[in-house]
């Protein structure tokens, strides 16, 4: 072992201090104008500015200390661990998995099933609303959207920046058809999916010849077109006012969640009147939809069409020379991805009771895509983890009341949502360039299954 790899050596510490100070200086330069100075309007409605040296100091100190710790302690530690692993000859693929890792999915599923009753027990029906609705349902909607987009981006490799369009189609299909035709949620859910799938094919046709950046731009435009149509076609969509009073879903038409109705669900079961029961019901609906998405994705991956998607992502020309019809392969990817977007959309509409074009802006597409990329393209588990962290994390920001004690009463942590989102993306991409779960499960075996670790492929080559 050489000196340089041991912590505490003077050379390393000096380097860490140097880099820490350097990071602090850069942070000072970067945040001086953004954070150090704030503009506001005074009583005469004139724009004036004041300084926020305290906040700036916190930013600088965090940057400097983080860099110091990274260089001085974390990096040497990681290097040592890697070296030790290489020495003992353990490759990542041959690593034995612990109990928690092998049974991770089962445990996660049981935890999700028990989540609503436990939160009711802990916080009462009314108190559980926050946990079931704000956290549970919100996260699961994004899990479903990201899993749907994963089929298009992660498996088929078609970069789609307008995925939110299908979400919008699903939401408006349910909202309009439920209001005008009075059809039930359970009838309109598949219908919204089919309509969204049709739009997927409509988008798919003109972009068949496009790939990569060009495809991304066209899909981006498609997403905007749908949104602008929703805003401007006021006769049907009521424009920016949106559609309100969208009917609630019922328990398969047997019980209803409308307070006045004869078969009101809580009354039938002798429960207190509360909107919490509806949210719990919705939680299980979206959970079931998510499981359906996962099941279909897993099954499709093992079928010829799923294999064709993955091959298409890798090399389109090779695909054709192997007899794969790339046209139908691409269109089915768009259609199936869009269908799940449509399901999620109609669920969103019935949950909110209100839809407006504002819910379907480009930022939504970007967030869904970010979740797919962060989680690791193609990996269902990774994407679910990313959705929990990203969506749950931003929801958690609303709860951080104690930060007001640190930063003053004007501090609203939600406003830093996008900043933190960006920061998290950079950190993840630095340390896990393939996303949380970079390995993919092969679909061909002769004898035993073996996950192929991401470390066996060069970065940027997959």
């Amino acid at each position: 072992m050489t000196n340089s790899s041991e912590t505490g050596t003077p050379g390393l510490m000096a380097k860490a201090v140097r880099e820490g100070i350097f990071a602090g200086v850069i942070a000072f330069g970067m945040f001086l104008l953004y954070v150090g100075i704030e503009t506001y309007q005074n009583i005469d409605n004139r724009l004036v500015w004041r300084t926020r040296w305290g906040l700036l100091a916190i930013f600088v100190i965090v940057a400097a200390v983080a860099r110091f710790l990274t260089v001085g302690f974390i990096k040497p530690h990681l290097d040592r661990r890697k070296l030790a692993k290489a020495k003992s000859g353990i490759l990542e693929i041959s690593e034995e998995k612990g109990f928690l890792r092998t049974h991770f999915l089962k445990i996660a599923l049981i935890a999700l099933l028990l989540y609503p009753p436990v939160s009711v027990m802990l916080f009462g029906p009314q108190g559980s609303l926050k946990y079931v609705d704000n956290f549970g349902i919100q996260i699961l909607i994004y899990v479903m959207l990201a899993w749907g987009l994963n089929i298009v981006v992660g498996l088929a490799g078609l970069l789609d920046l307008g995925y939110v369009a299908f979400y919008a189609v699903g939401a408006y299909s349910y909202a309009l058809l439920a209001q005008h035709l009075g059809l039930s949620f359970w009838l309109l859910l598949p219908l919204a999916g089919i309509l969204a799938a049709c739009w997927g094919v409509i988008l798919g046709f003109p972009v068949l010849r496009l790939r990569g950046d060009y495809l991304a731009i066209v899909t981006l435009a498609f997403g905007e077109i749908i949104r602008l149509v929703l805003i401007n076609w006021t006769d049907v969509t009521r424009g920016t006012f949106g559609i309100s009073g969208i009917p609630k879903a019922s328990v398969f038409g047997i019980w209803s969640f409308d307070v006045g109705s004869a078969n009101y669900f809580p009354k039938a079961f002798g429960l207190a009147t509360s909107s919490a029961w509806y949210k719990i019901f919705l939680f299980y609906v979206i959970l079931a939809l998510c499981l359906l998405t996962a099941y279909v994705t897993i099954r499709l991956r093992r079928m010829p069409i799923g294999r064709a998607w993955e091959a298409l992502r890798e090399d389109e020309i090779a695909c054709r020379s192997l007899g794969i019809n790339t046209v139908t392969t691409k269109l089915t990817a768009f259609a199936i991805g869009a269908m799940f977007g449509g399901f999620a959309g109609s669920f969103f509409a019935t949950r909110q009771g209100f839809v407006s074009p504002e819910s379907f802006v480009f930022l939504e597409s970007a967030v869904i895509l970010a979740i797919v990329v962060l989680g690791g393209m193609g990996s269902l588990t990774g994407i679910a983890i990313a959705a929990v962290l990203m969506v749950g994390g931003t929801e958690l920001l609303r709860e951080m009341e104690f930060l007001k004690l640190v930063f003053g009463p004007d501090f609203t942590p939600e406003l830093y949502r996008m900043l933190l989102f960006g920061l998290a993306m950079i950190v993840v991409m630095l340390f896990k360039p393939r996303g949380f779960v970079g390995s993919r499960e092969p679909t061909a075996f002769l004898k035993e299954r073996k996950a192929v670790s991401g470390s066996f492929t060069k970065e940027g080559h997959g």
Binding site: D315, S321, L446, T457, K458
Partner: protein, 242 residues
Amino acid sequence: MAGETLLKVQGVETYYGNIRALAGVDVEVNKGEIVSLIGANGAGKSTLMMTICGSPQARNGQVVFDGEDITRLPTHLIARRRIAQSPEGRRIFPRMTVLENLQMGAGLDNLKHFKEDVEKIFALFPRLKERQSQRGGTLSGGEQQMLSIGRALMARPKLLLLDEPSLGLAPLIVKGIFEAIRKLNQEEGLTVFLVEQNAFAALKLSDRAYVMVNGKVTMSGSGRELLANPEVRAAYLEGGRH
């Protein structure tokens, strides 16, 4: 040797935009033959191979395979007529494992003969067996070439098209790959159409060969004849490798 004609290319002209890459090419491949096409860079060898596969399609002329005109068919339908290709640059699927790559090749029969055929490929290229659960992109160049040929063979082709299998490989590995091609031809009667820059190795392997210059076939004959031909020797075999 002289079986019936399997592939017949007649007066094929192919254009890239307004540039004529093939200026009326006639080539024939009979069942059970190894036929090679040699020529300098930019002569149109790869273009001919791609034209047979329908991408780009020939503007004039005709490609007839097994008695059927395939000139205007899309690429994937041509592949389904059992013309398998190991394309230039190999084009394996880098993120998929070796076994999955082979699986993609067997898609035409819906994996009916998958296990049996995989064993055959592994017997032909034992290196692939060792690497079966490794990702394609992590293989060496020679192994990738073996995988590319193996993937093409998984389709149980009537005709195997090989585009520069020796490109960028060490001589010893080239020898091994050419040996495998010869074995396939002799033991299974596989028909092979080969495009090569490595004229010496290609001519030694082939029953017949064509020489291509500027989008035209200028010479043809048995491999042995062309090897002895002074013009061919001067242009492709001696005085450095052109």
